[in-house]
Subunit: 126 residues, 2 copies
Amino acid sequence: METVEHDKRKCPTHLSGHECTARLLPVKDALDILSGKWKLQIIISLTFGKKRFKQIQREIPGLTPKMLSKELKELEINELASRHVYDTSPVTVEYEITPYGKTLKPLIEELHKWGAKHRKRIIARK
Amino acid sequence: METVEHDKRKCPTHLSGHECTARLLPVKDALDILSGKWKLQIIISLTFGKKRFKQIQREIPGLTPKMLSKELKELEINELASRHVYDTSPVTVEYEITPYGKTLKPLIEELHKWGAKHRKRIIARK
DNA sequence: GAAATCGGTATACTTTAGGAAACCAGTATA
DNA sequence: TATACTGGTTTCCTAAAGTATACCGATTTC
């Protein structure tokens, strides 16, 4: 029953090295995009329409400008949100979810579905 | 730790309080379960069969006993994995994914799908 | 003239996630 | 007798994540 080979220590024994990388890395990539306290709240907020900096901040309670700035930059780098500057005074800046950002929808939906079931379960257990 | 509490925060203006809670909290709950460096690797490892403590540790490179212990406890609390102790000597402990834990599969699959596309995109852009 | 708005930045701090190493008792192996 | 395995715990540490607060110049409103 215990047929653990010693030369396969880098990956789970049931997976080859290639299979292991192929399975774990993308999941980790996706999680990197979504994890953290604010990223998803911002993304979800943007799925409801273009928003200005302070507007996002007002909508998400507790979110400091420093964090918002940092997260928006990361969303931009990953092409999930875009930043548009209009030459008004004072300057107007709008953030918008990109078409690519919208491809997150099924994933977020799945998170929502599972999370909702889980929440019901936890509450029922108390 | 991963307790589900009622959140009285204000919500984005475009959503009613109820809609906001309904939308954001479950997503956060799901993410709490999956985020972190080791949780998903452990879950995925367990989907391939029962495992013993040291066996999991050997399969996932870099995973320290402290982290493994902590993560397994959380998985147990959330009823995603179960712990079975057998009265052998030395004691045998087996961890197994629960039926409930298996319900994470579609979500993990979605993370994998999106992550794989994202990975291709990033690599292609370089 | 004072206050508030815009889109942020700078600095300093606390909190959390995670890592390294040592250690435990009981048993088996060399 | 010495070593290694079992399933973990304990302590100390660092790096990253996140918080708090003040500030900026330009402009609009009270």
